[in-house]
């Protein structure tokens, strides 16, 4: 009997400077028996073994959105995923649907562009207020489950509609943000925001498959937000 156990990984590797093709690399860690760690900690240890292993990380507590990865086939944050809960070998891939820059690092330009497209900032035509805009606790509650998005892209990267139309479909994260401003009683541009979403693609490409809801590491529900915008758009049409 040894006091350690081995954790096996299969990690997506690709360095455009030297690899023709991406490949999966077997890697492993020895851990003391009974110990657990987050997948991000495990990646840090693997990087200490092989410094060429490349991934993003910052907060290691699930609030910065840096380390969205495809883990055993499901998108999630490495820093919030316990190694002990994963079937081995743990298969770690970059987020699907984005161009890979290197190893687990993807190019998220398209994702950010769709976020910017929804005008992600409060618009309020009252320029004279010098204190705060008032908002009742009940109105503020509308933002709960919406404003907490960390832009990790786990949702959009699991959304088939976003894979097929990344340039035209805003995607779940961007639409969640669109709703965040539509739902804010302080925002005075609701009409303009809705008008920007009424074409057949921006929002209506959502097929309600709910992949986004299943993977959101913050427990947010983009589908519900999309549904709410949809009904506002339909109301507006009649």
């Amino acid at each position: 009997m040894t006091n350690t156990h081995t954790i096996k990984f299969s990690v997506y590797r690709y360095d455009p400077e030297k690899d023709q093709e991406p490949y999966m690399q077997a890697m492993s860690l020895e851990l003391p028996k009974g110990s657990d760690m987050m997948l991000l900690d495990a990646l840090e240890y693997l990087k200490a073994q092989d410094q060429s292993l490349t991934f993003r990380r910052s907060c290691r507590e699930g609030v910065c959105g840096s380390d969205g990865l495809n883990i055993n086939g499901k998108n999630g944050l490495a820093c919030m995923t316990h190694v002990s809960e994963l079937k081995q070998p743990i298969v770690v891939r970059p987020l699907p649907g984005f161009p890979v820059i290197r190893d687990l690092v993807v190019d998220m330009t398209q994702f950010y562009r769709q976020y910017e497209a929804i005008q992600p900032y409060l618009i309020n035509d009252n320029k004279t207020e010098t204190k705060e805009f008032l908002q009742s606790p009940k109105d503020r509650e509308e933002l709960d489950g919406v404003y907490e998005c960390i832009l990790c892209a786990c949702c959009s990267s699991s959304c088939p509609s976003f894979w097929w139309n990344p340039e035209k479909f805003i995607g779940p994260a961007g639409l969640l943000w669109a709703y965040r401003f539509i739902a804010d009683t302080r925002d005075t541009a609701t009409e303009q925001r809705l008008a920007n979403l009424e074409d057949p693609y921006s929002l209506f490409r959502c097929r309600g498959i709910m992949n986004c809801v299943q993977v959101c590491p913050k427990g947010l529900n983009p589908t519900r937000a999309i549904g709410k915008i949809r009904s506002k758009l339909l109301q507006r049409a009649v």
Binding site: D15, P16, E17, K18, K47, A48, Q51, S52, T54, F55, R56, R57, S58, C59, R60, E61, G62, V63, C64, G65, S66, M80, I101, R102, D103, V105, M108, Y112, E116, Q119, P120, Y121, L122, N124, E129, T130, K131, E132, F133, L134, Q135, S136, P137, D139, R140, L143, D144, Y147, E148, I150, L151, F181, D184, R186, D187
Partner: protein
């Protein structure tokens, strides 16, 4: 080496709360400003702030910015600069209202105003009853603030240089700062950013410790850059240990938990803070609470979690409703990192490195200061703001909720100052000095070409162990002296160390190696400053000098780097606020 060249009115290095508040001011003024950040802006560490922004809005009870000022001066253990603390507290309400109007989703009270919660070290009427002064967006205030500022920068069309890493400052022959050398992480492109104003907003350096609430990215880059440029850093011995980091994981649990009525217990279930701070109890200042916890642990009244001795934060009595409304993020963190649902069971916590009170000395406009012949001298072209700056509003101990206030008040203040200076043509493009440029490139070049040295990651582990063991909550001269020696050995070893990845594409190992130079610089500055200050004040608590020594130590420590061992100097503390009489040092009881 191929170096591209960019030109901007101003460059801001770091896209956390301070950097983005500064760049917003400049971009809105129509200036050409670049925002350089090694991570996408909303991945910056401000996102981790939980509890709120301390500001005398008076939404929960009558309030006065002077009361906030009194608490902050007292919290600083009287080495905060009072002109700057006055500026902070007086300007905070406007700065916070502005953020609200930018869209920050604050929690609300019934009349529709911003919700404010009690935090440690807060009083009404100059030391009276507990105040509720910390404006909050549930327990995700930092996230709400950082996203709001990012959104506004998107709107203002700031020039983002996202995932660009700042290497070093570039100086002119006369010593003024004329820009910075930066590197694109994705492509390895090296660029010289020439600017009329360079603003460091690079945040903290908590990663010099093994156990820290700080993100991986908090490596003191701006501090290292300033020190390599020959500029002093101030009060680097002053590190805040937050009372409630999750035992073993280090992740922060906001002081807002205690503000909402949670409290600490030892293994016997005793609410021990009643013994240490009979009046304020669990809402005493952070240094006081962290020390009390360390004593409980040392005297054996502790439990164990994740293999470390700990005490517990009890909040189940608040009830599920308050917890899910006011502290939802905490519940998530406790479940994930401590395997505990705080609705039923207390959370294991230990004091954990959290905040660097020291930094680059500045005046209240954020202008970085040099010290020449015992006099402050403004460094033309260089500003610092946020955690990497030492204005100093936090002195020897920062009050909870004051760091976000610091970011936005001084972020705005620096922006306004730079804007005026640029408009009045006080800041010019100046030619870079070749030697200064070469110095920065040479450091990069060494890492890029040196192949067979010792692994820098090994040295990094050892550095963190030294800081953790010899420069923690309690310090003694003997251990610190030994720690300092160990650091000098590590410093020598680092000169010959190397990395093992030489790719030009998204080479994060190279970034970590370059960060390592900054961690080393910060650690050495901390160590020598701590050894030098022979008293206990605020977060700097020495067992061999347990008393505060006002006769000798109401002054700032300055450290100037040197290859052998740094030089220590001092600066007077400002005791001259403009509109109120100075608060004189008193014994600090809570």
């Amino acid at each position: 080496m191929n170096i591209s060249h960019y030109e901007f009115d101003a460059i801001v290095i770091g896209a956390g709360g301070a950097g983005m508040r500064t760049s917003l001011q400049l971009a809105n003024a129509g200036l050409n400003v670049a925002l350089v950040s090694k991570v996408f802006p909303t991945r910056s560490h401000t996102v981790c702030a939980q509890g709120g922004i301390t500001v005398a809005l008076g939404n929960m009870h009558e309030d006065d910015w002077r009361w906030h000022m009194y608490d902050t001066v007292k919290g600083s253990d009287y080495i905060g600069d009072q002109d700057c603390i006055e500026y902070l507290c007086q300007n905070a309400p406007d700065a916070v209202y502005e953020l609200e109007r930018m869209g920050l989703p604050f929690s609300r009270i019934d009349n529709g105003k911003i919700y404010q919660r009690p935090f440690g070290g807060q009083s009404r009427n100059f030391g009276g009853e507990q105040a509720a002064r910390t404006a909050a967006a549930a327990d995700r205030t930092g996230h709400a603030l950082l996203h709001t500022l990012y959104q506004q920068n998107v709107k203002a069309k700031a020039n983002f240089f996202t995932e660009w890493y700042a290497l070093d400052l570039v100086k002119a022959a006369d010593g003024s700062v004329v820009g910075a050398l930066v590197m694109c992480i994705e492509t390895g492109e090296i660029a010289y950013m020439h600017s009329r104003a360079t603003i460091l907003a690079t945040g903290g350096a908590g990663r010099i410790y093994q156990s820290t609430t700080n993100a991986f990215i908090n490596t003191g880059d701006g501090i290292g850059m300033a020190m390599r440029a020959g500029f002093p850093v101030q009060d680097m011995e002053m590190w805040q240990f937050h009372p409630t980091g999750v035992a073993g994981a280090g992740v922060l649990i906001t002081e807002g938990v205690r503000g909402e009525g949670g409290y600490l217990i030892n293994k016997d279930g005793e609410r021990f803070m009643e013994r240490y701070a009979p009046h304020a109890k669990d809402l005493a200042s952070r240094d006081v609470v962290a020390r009390a916890m360390a004593v409980e642990i040392r005297e054996g009244r502790h439990g164990m979690a994740n293999g470390v001795p700990c005490v517990y934060l009890k909040l189940d009595h608040l009830g599920e409703e308050v917890i899910s409304q006011r502290l939802p993020g905490i519940r998530e963190i406790a479940k994930t990192f401590a395997h505990v649902d705080p609705v039923n069971a207390p959370v294991p916590v230990v004091p954990t490195c959290h905040y660097m009170m020291g930094g680059i000395p500045t005046n209240k406009h954020g202008q970085a200061l040099n010290r020449v012949n015992g006099q402050d001298k403004i460094i033309p072209g260089l500003y610092a703001v946020g955690e990497c700056a030492c204005v100093s509003v936090h002195g020897a101990n920062r009050l909870g909720g004051n760091s976000l206030t610091d970011l936005i008040v001084f972020g705005r203040g620096v922006g306004i100052h730079v804007e005026n200076e640029l408009k009045q043509n006080h800041l010019h493009f100046q030619a870079a000095d070749d030697a200064s440029m070469a110095q920065g490139l040479q450091r990069l070049n060494r890492w890029n070409t040196h192949k067979d040295g010792e692994d820098f990651m090994q040295i990094r582990d050892e550095l963190r162990a030294v800081m953790q063991n010899d420069f923690g909550v309690f310090r003694t001269g003997q251990y610190m002296a030994e720690g300092l020696k160990k650091l000098e050995v590590l410093h020598e070893r680092l000169k010959h160390a190397s990395m093992k990845d030489f790719s030009q594409v998204f080479n994060t190992t190279r970034v970590e190696a370059l960060e390592m130079d900054n961690l080393m610089a910060v650690a050495r500055a901390t160590a020598l400053s701590a050894v030098t200050r022979t008293e206990s004040r605020g977060a700097h608590s020495r067992e061999d000098y347990p008393k505060r020594d006002d006769a000798n130590w109401i002054k700032h420590t300055l450290y100037v780097d040197d290859d052998k061992i740094g030089q220590i100097d001092y600066r007077e503390v400002n005791m001259q606020p403009l509109t109120v009489p100075a608060f004189q040092p008193k014994e600090r009881v809570y």
